[in-house]
């Protein structure tokens, strides 16, 4: 297991990618959002969507972590299993840092009535509707899902090249459109949204865990036969 720990250190050897850039993205969007809120009437309740910005960055980190660091890990005589576990552990650790910031930010917004201007960046009603623990789990799993999605896409690219990857992504898009068409055809949108709302943040958290497990399984299966 020590070597898995060393993979974490390898990924973090340049702390910029995993720690400083996501924090910079988060700090930057928060600053911009607060400035915009300061220009708006303080009475109105305002929600900011900028909190998801660092999550999208994790999608890019997932891709870079595979295409760039995997070949290097092979030169370091690291097994594919060690690389996979270590990379996932790194993503968990840095996602946890982000989660802690989110939760603390949420508490600050509750305590200060949204920075004194009724603006909510971290404390988004629906996410917090089942309490801080569920909100934390949701943020953690969401960030990791972004990372693992990037990781899985990069392993598909490594194994099968750009053409197959594009076909898979377009196929998924078509599937989604097909499902949407079917729901519209059955006039079931009301029921679908109703179902999503009743699942609550807990339901979404469970859904994200399932997605994480499936995507990790795909990524690991492909990585086992990947060539640097």
């Amino acid at each position: 297991m020590n070597r898995v720990g060393n993979v974490v250190r390898m990924q973090l050897v340049n702390r910029q990618t995993f720690i400083w850039v996501p924090l910079l993205v988060l700090g930057g969007t928060l600053a911009v959002t607060l400035m915009i809120w300061a220009m708006l009437p303080p009475a109105a309740v305002k929600y900011g969507g900028g909190a998801q910005a660092p999550m999208w960055y994790f999608f890019a980190v997932g891709i870079m972590g595979t295409t760039q660091t995997f070949p290097f890990s092979q030169a370091m005589s690291v097994t594919r299993r060690e690389f996979f576990l270590g990379s996932l552990l790194t993503a968990s650790l840095t996602s946890a840092i982000l989660t802690v910031i989110f939760v603390i930010g949420g508490f600050i917004e509750q305590a200060t009535n949204g920075w004194g201007v009724n603006g909510y960046f971290f404390y988004l009603d629906w996410i917090w509707s089942s309490g801080a623990v569920v909100a934390a789990a949701l943020i953690l799993f969401m960030t990791m899902t972004f990372f693992v999605t990037g990781f899985a896409i990069a392993t598909i690219y490594k194994r099968f090249g750009p053409a197959i990857l594009t076909i898979i992504l377009v196929g998924l898009g078509l599937l989604l459109v097909g499902v949407m068409w079917l729901i519209g055809r059955l006039n079931a949108w009301g029921q679908v949204f109703g179902w999503i709302v009743t699942q609550g943040p807990e339901g979404l958290a469970i859904g994200l865990v399932i997605t994480l497990v499936v995507l990790s399984g795909i990524a690991y299966g492909l990585l086992r036969r990947a060539i640097p």
């Binding site: 070597r3 060393n6 250190r9 390898m10 050897v13 340049n14 910029q16 990618t17 870079m64 760039q68 660091t69 070949p71 290097f72 092979q74 030169a75 370091m76 005589s77 690291v78 097994t79 594919r80 299993r81 060690e82 086992r224 036969r225 060539i227 640097p228």
Partner: protein, 320 residues
């Protein structure tokens, strides 16, 4: 600086790598074709061959970076694939090695220190100074030669029991190449290990390597001690007319002349009788060029194989 100065360690014939019937087939070509060989412990090997002969593929499969289509590879008696116990004793930095996007040489070395149990930081620092490598410049901004130096430093300072160097001299100037050869030999003398050096600059590494493995079109066409290979031929140097008279009737491998002086490489060694005739004729024995011998062998294999290899890819089945 010749390899003869280094006493062969005891148990030199013990093998660290065993390859049996290794084949690597890509969709439209056979990169490695039913190859079997052993790598002896504590020996410097030259893995020689033309570009595209299969050198990098073989090294990738031995280190489990790539996969064999069929055949068996054992390193320290075990399968290397997903085997940390075996892999940590090996080091293979490829010629086209990729590094993390924003990594600097200093990051690469710090990481190597984590994974290679025998890593020697002193040696790494000395090599950094020798190669004048800017350790705080992003690796993707380095020149080709500096990029090679990063790989060479990881390979040497890791002191792995089996170390592969894949055309390590690309982009290095003559001074840097000599530094690499000198440091390799020095460190090898103090810390014997198995080194497999792939190269197509055969004469440049010929003083370094103890055994040669020549690979051509995915097949091992020579696996011998360097000295034995050299003994397969003799170079006769002297007055052109006298040399030509002396070599009459012998198989001539190579001929060079400058003015009235000629150097002719003939197959085989000289008998004591021939040696005295040589002296009587005022001729000398010169150094045999390993490169000439190997080029000759490769071309010979080409001639006899030309028709066979054309059918090879089609006659064998498409087994994965």
């Amino acid at each position: 600086m010749t390899i003869n100065d280094v006493a062969p360690p005891s148990g030199a014939a013990e093998s660290v790598i065993e390859v049996r019937n290794l084949t690597k087939r890509y969709r439209d070509a056979v990169a490695v074709d039913d190859v079997s060989f052993s790598i002896h412990k504590n020996t410097i090997y030259g893995l020689l061959g033309r570009n595209g002969a299969g050198k990098t593929t073989v090294m990738s499969i031995l280190t489990a970076q790539n996969f064999a289509t069929s055949g068996d590879v054992r390193v320290f008696g075990e399968h290397p694939y997903e085997n940390a116990r075996v892999l940590r004793r090996m080091c293979f930095v490829r010629e086209s090695q990729k590094y993390p996007d924003d990594a600097k040489p200093i990051h690469a070395f710090a990481t190597a220190k984590l994974f290679f149990p025998n890593w020697n930081q002193e040696l790494a620092d000395r090599l950094i100074a020798d190669f004048r490598l800017p350790v705080r410049t992003r690796i993707k901004k380095l020149s080709r030669g500096q990029l090679s130096a990063v790989g060479v430093i990881i390979g040497l300072a890791s002191r792995a029991e089996v170390t592969f160097f894949d055309e390590p001299y690309l982009g290095l100037d003559a001074v840097a190449r000599q530094i690499f050869y000198d440091r390799l030999l020095e460190d090898y003398t103090e810390h014997p290990r198995t080194v497999i050096l792939s190269s197509h600059l055969i004469d440049e590494v010929s003083n370094l390597i103890e055994r040669v493995l020549v690979i051509d079109r995915g097949q091992i066409i020579m696996d011998a001690a360097t000295d034995d290979v050299r003994d397969q031929a003799t170079a006769i140097v002297g007055d052109a007319a006298a040399v030509d008279a002396f070599v009459a009737g012998r198989e001539v491998l190579h001929r060079e002349s400058l003015g009235r002086v000629a150097s002719v490489t003939i197959a085989g060694a000289l008998s004591p009788d021939e040696r005295s005739r040589l002296t009587a004729a005022g001729l000398d024995i010169g150094p045999v060029s390993l490169q000439q011998l190997i080029v000759r062998t490769t071309q010979h294999a080409d001639d006899t194989d030309a028709t066979a290899s054309d059918t090879r890819t089609t006659t064998k089945g498409g087994r994965r």
